[in-house]
């Protein structure tokens, strides 16, 4: 695939004035990044997609109908479980035994067991706003792993909060233009609000990035490996 080789005419862009689909109690937003994301992936056949958020029926259906194999790995929940397991080990450890519970070691252990896919497996990764919630030790490791498991020219779709979010949301693709934000119980408090420069630094090994600023304090980013 040659994602970077694509140029687009004005008529190819889907109209943002399309009517909002009806969803029960949903918080729909028009996603310009999703439109570009889908356009860039339109040539990919039998693509492999990794969704790093909680599994959502509509997202799975949306991409499987387009020929993708979908993988889901709820990294934030896995990290939460990992911390709980390590805490339980510590509680049950015999007195006097040494256990390495510093954040760097925890993050390193986590990466041994998670996002463990062969290199260059995926055409694209849906990261949503995961990176705003990851531990500072875990964040660079996850981004480095994304670089490894993405194919060349593979895409990451990320969402970054301009301000600290007031509540936790899950994301799901509703259609080719809309993403729904679903309020959900907080798994972890937000760790940061990355500025554009920090995002660029974080993805410094990647080739390009494109940011879409919304009026709802969300910045969508398309990052190309």
């Amino acid at each position: 695939m040659s994602l970077l080789g694509k140029t687009r005419g004005g008529t190819e862009r889907a109209s943002s004035a399309a009517p909002l689909p009806k969803t029960p109690g949903g918080n729909l937003r028009v996603s310009n990044a999703l439109k570009d994301f889908l356009w860039l992936l339109s040539d990919v056949e039998h693509g492999h997609l990794l969704d790093l958020g909680p599994v959502a029926q509509s997202t799975v259906s949306f991409f499987t109908e387009r020929g993708f194999k979908v993988y889901t790995e709820d990294v934030l929940r896995c990290w939460q479980q990992h911390l709980r397991q390590e805490e339980a080990k510590l509680r049950n450890a015999p007195a006097g035994s040494k256990m390495d519970l510093d954040r760097a070691a925890l993050a390193e252990n986590f990466m041994h067991e998670n996002l463990a896919h062969p290199s260059e497996t995926f055409h694209t990764v849906l990261a949503w706003d995961l990176l705003d919630y990851l531990d500072s030790e875990l964040l660079p490791r996850v981004v480095a792993r994304l670089f490894e498991i993405l194919k060349p020219n593979g895409l990451v779709l990320g969402i970054f909060h301009s301000r600290t979010p007031e509540s936790f949301h899950r994301y799901r693709v509703v259609d080719a233009q809309h993403v729904e934000l679903i309020p959900a119980p907080t798994v972890f408090p937000p760790q940061r609000s990355l500025q554009n420069r920090e995002i660029l630094n974080l993805f410094s090994r990647f080739r390009t990035s494109k940011t879409f600023v919304g009026r709802d304090q969300l910045r969508e980013a398309l990052i190309t490996r």
Binding site: K69, V70, Y71, Q81, Q85
Partner: protein, 166 residues
Amino acid sequence: MWRRPNEAKPTSPEAEPYVAPPAAAPRREEASAPHAAHAPEATRITQAISIHGEISGRQDLFIDGELQGSICLPESRVTVGTNGRLKADVEAAEIVVEGHVNGNLTAGARVVLRRSGRVYGSVFAPRIAIEEGAVLNGQVDMARPGEAEAPRANGVSAPSYRVAAP
């Protein structure tokens, strides 16, 4: 202008109800109900039972206990109850998960993940229903038989999800 009372109702492919594949046709439609697996003819493994080994056969199965091994019931429905804890690969016509499964699910007809369902493994089925709140860490493959992706040229097979401890 008005349709005559005895006029046959027009039908269209879109208007016709979905007809399940032959293998799944005799299945009860109450599969979509949360606790449908408690049908009398289903073999039940209750909460107090723990099994290590392989289960195969033709009867529907409801598991609310623990199982480590594998399940191969290609003509039947397997339901993992809310208390069910499986460390097993499951192959069945239809799989409904309300509990925890650590392993791969392969269904001829469909897989249903209820909101309490937790699956750490891959799901292979032509139809998959996922309720809000369900957890799935692994691959979702809805390719029909024969549509499977060809092996990669470098000899690396499609990535198999490494089952993580729940």
